[in-house]
């Protein structure tokens, strides 16, 4: 693995929300082609990491660096991080009433194309790809003209996040509890979507509470978060162990 190219490198990171320092001296390196799972009890800083990466205005970086594709990520505004290929799958996807899913997605793709100095996507190519990927995610065509996440069920919102990810083809996907609130069928569909994205040139960070999702997405590395830092890393078997024993045996150490 050491011969692989580094996609993301987090060094000595401190991040706070409001006055509260949440992430403390975090170090994490992710290579191209890797999937990392992040597990850990509530309040351990998993979602704050996602916010720090995406550049959420509530999250302040007080120390350390993040490099993404060798770019100093912290100097980039939110939309440029996205256009460089960083995707955040939201734990609670936001509703934008009246703005149709397809219009929204097309605007996002064209923003990315513009950033990369490419032409706008052709309407027919876009629709064709959107329909195909919506099918794959079990999303009814009628959803595509509905408002973004407007009146969707929890499961529908999460599948829609993955659909957006498939359309935007990010280099790094950060999926924040994408599996929470999913029934077993939705979980399978969502994992299928995530797996279809994984390849030599893409990586993902999967934040989850449950080992179940990881049965479908075999992560290369599993990290356990506690008090804003990684307290243990291992392979998939670590997730199995956590499922059986809970976190206490680690956090009490």
């Amino acid at each position: 693995m050491s011969t692989k190219k580094t996609l993301l490198s987090i060094e000595n990171l401190d991040a706070s929300i409001g006055d509260k320092n949440i992430i403390k001296n975090l170090n994490l390196k992710i290579h191209y082609g890797e999937t990392h799972a992040i597990m850990g009890p509530n309040g351990s800083g998993k979602s704050t990491l996602a916010k720090a990466l995406a550049g959420h205005p509530d999250c302040k970086i007080t120390k350390g660096t993040i490099h993404f594709k060798n770019i100093d990520l912290l100097t980039l505004p939110v939309e440029e991080r996205s256009n460089e290929g960083l995707f955040l799958g939201f734990q609670y996807p936001i509703e934008i009433p009246g703005l149709s899913n397809s219009v929204f997605l097309k605007a996002a793709i064209n923003a990315k194309n513009k950033y990369q100095k490419l032409n706008d996507v052709s309407a027919t190519d876009f629709i064709k790809e959107l329909k195909q990927k919506a099918d794959m995610m079990g999303i009814n065509q009628s959803f595509l003209s509905r408002g973004v996440n407007e009146g969707y069920s929890g499961g529908e919102k999460k599948r829609n996040e993955i659909l957006q990810m498939l359309m935007l083809k990010p280099t790094l996907s950060v999926l924040d509890e994408t599996d929470s609130g999913l029934d077993i069928d939705s979980m399978k569909i969502v994992s299928k979507g995530i797996n279809s994205m994984l390849g030599e040139d893409t990586s993902s960070i999967v934040i989850t509470h449950y080992e179940r999702l990881l049965q479908y997405i075999k992560p290369d590395v599993v990290h356990v978060f506690h008090n804003g830092r990684i307290i243990k890393s291992g392979d998939y078997m670590l997730a199995r162990e956590l499922e059986e024993k809970g976190y206490e045996w680690l956090t009490n150490e």
């Binding site: 939309e79 939201f90 936001i94 934008i96 009433p97 149709s100 996002a108 923003a111």
Partner: protein, 486 residues
């Protein structure tokens, strides 16, 4: 909390808001203007200059005498400087000895102005299949597609021409929907109106194209008093659009138009407005006062009148496009987007008066306010005693951008018939930081994100616009309403 310390500010967004009015220019054309002031002699002079028949002069004078007895209304949720009616010049005409017969005869400078406004008559009008009766100040100077319309039997001309060519129609319908006694500004308009548009669609005719008029106020201190009359005879159908821009001015310019629509049995009129007059500078200085009386008379059974308005300009907007649902089974609709920024004030809404049986009305109002703007929806729905099984649906949504603006809603409902059903829904929301972050995480910059969120908010109304104008309206909203988010 002190709002001054709580204002969320974003330099980029502020920049966009500060964008100066794109269409702020004047055309240097010699105008023939009557000296400021208003009295019976001025009215006689206007009528004479326009070569009007006696009945029209008599009507103007009656209106003026009535107006002289009236007091300016003050019930609007508006803060307006006192208007000095004697300081306004009531007539301004581009100096043209004879009206041009075709575009070739039109003063090239006028055409240049249209170009700046994005209305190249000879090209775009043709491409879009739109006939444009362009009102430049007070006199119509060019009418296109007249021939094609005439073949269909449609009359589409300036009001002045119609007075000459079809006096019987003018006499029959003028002031029947909005009588000069209706209100202060309707009386003023009746006394001094200089021009406008006239449309007549004969029985059973579906107007072959969208009809469109671009209004433009050009002469400083010239109040603009348009009058529009549209008559849709039995079983006919017409879609009409007015769009406006105005040059930059220091002083407030008064605009008090009157629009009357008449739909006979089985007729349908769709009237769309895109209003983008100069709103004043960021301190609220200058800008147009837009006090308009618009009313549609669904006189015939099964008739339908639909108002759609995108109000983004003017320093003060005061208008209530309304429907009188007199015919049985008649339908009235009102779709509105009112956007106010900086110090703009909008007090707008509609009246739906249900008189016939099984009449239906639908009101969709979207108010958007940013900076220190105030936006008021005022609506009246009345169901008369004999209007059995009538229905009204009202949806009234307000969107606030920043924390110094205001949204106000004054719905009035009067029901005198127990078999009728009314529904009223209202929401107030803000563009949330979460929505913006979500869009930006998908790569969309803040400016475009606000545009997308707003277009989503306004979807039901934008969908009502004729296709070719919907795109323009979206762009207009985006330019006008990027705002600080809080």
């Amino acid at each position: 909390m002190d709002p001054d310390n709580n204002q969320v500010s974003n330099p980029e967004i502020d920049n966009l808001i500060e964008k100066s009015y794109e269409y702020g220019f004047t055309t240097d054309i010699e105008s023939e203007t009557i000296a400021p002031g208003l009295n019976e002699d001025v009215i006689r002079l206007i009528s004479k200059k326009k070569g009007e028949p006696q009945f029209l002069l008599d009507w103007r004078l009656k209106a003026f005498r009535h107006w002289s007895k009236l007091k300016e209304p003050e019930w609007g949720q508006l803060n307006i400087e006192k208007i000095n009616y004697q300081a306004i010049s009531y007539f301004s005409a581009p100096k043209l000895e004879n009206a041009p017969k075709s575009l070739d005869e039109v003063d090239p400078k006028l055409l240049e102005t249209y170009d700046k406004l994005g209305i190249p008559l000879h090209e775009r009008a043709k491409l879009a299949g739109v006939a444009v009766d362009a009102v430049f100040d007070s006199v119509s100077v060019a009418t296109t597609f007249k021939k094609k319309l005439l073949e269909a039997g449609v009359i589409f001309s300036s009001f002045s021409e119609a007075v000459k060519d079809h006096p019987e129609l003018i006499k029959k319908y003028l002031g029947k929907v909005v009588p000069y006694r209706d209100n202060y500004f309707a009386a003023l308009n009746a006394a001094v109106f200089t021009d406008g548009s006239f449309v007549y669609i004969p029985k059973g005719v579906r107007c072959p194209m969208e009809l469109s008029t671009y209004f433009r106020i050009n002469e400083a201190n010239t109040g603009q008093f348009e009058r529009t009359l549209i008559v849709a005879d039995e079983g006919s159908h017409v879609s009409y659009l007015e769009g406006c821009t105005a040059p930059m001015r220091d002083e407030n310019q008064l605009h008090a138009a009157v629009v009357e629509l008449v739909a006979l049995d089985d007729a349908e009129i769709k009237y769309s407005t895109v209003q983008n007059w100069y709103p004043g500078d960021e301190n609220g200085k200058g800008g147009i006062y837009n006090f308009v009386t618009k009313r549609g008379d669904c006189r015939g059974n099964n008739s339908k009148i639909s108002w759609t308005q995108i109000e983004t300009g003017s320093s003060v907007t005061w208008k209530y496009p309304s429907c009188l649902l007199r015919g049985d089974n008649s339908i009235g609709e009102f779709y509105s987007i009112a956007l106010s920024n900086h110090h703009q004030q909008a007090d707008t809404g509609t009246k739906m008066i249900h008189l016939g049986k099984n009449t239906k009305s639908k009101i969709i109002s979207k108010g958007i306010s940013a900076k220190k703007a105030q936006n008021t929806y005022r609506g009246l729905v009345t169901i008369a005693k004999n209007a059995d099984h009538s229905r009204n649906y009202t949806q009234c949504d307000s969107l606030l951008i920043g924390d110094k603006c205001g949204a106000h809603t004054f719905p009035s409902i009067g029901v005198n018939n127990s078999s009728s059903i009314l529904e009223h829904e209202a929401t107030t929301s803000k563009i949330s930081d979460d929505q913006l972050f979500y869009c930006m995480q998908r790569g969309i910059n803040e400016e475009d994100a606000i545009g997308l969120i707003i277009s989503g908010f306004c979807k039901e109304v934008l969908n009502e616009l004729p296709m070719e104008f919907a795109v323009e309206a979206r762009a207009l909203l985006q330019v006008n309403l990027e705002g600080a988010v809080g």
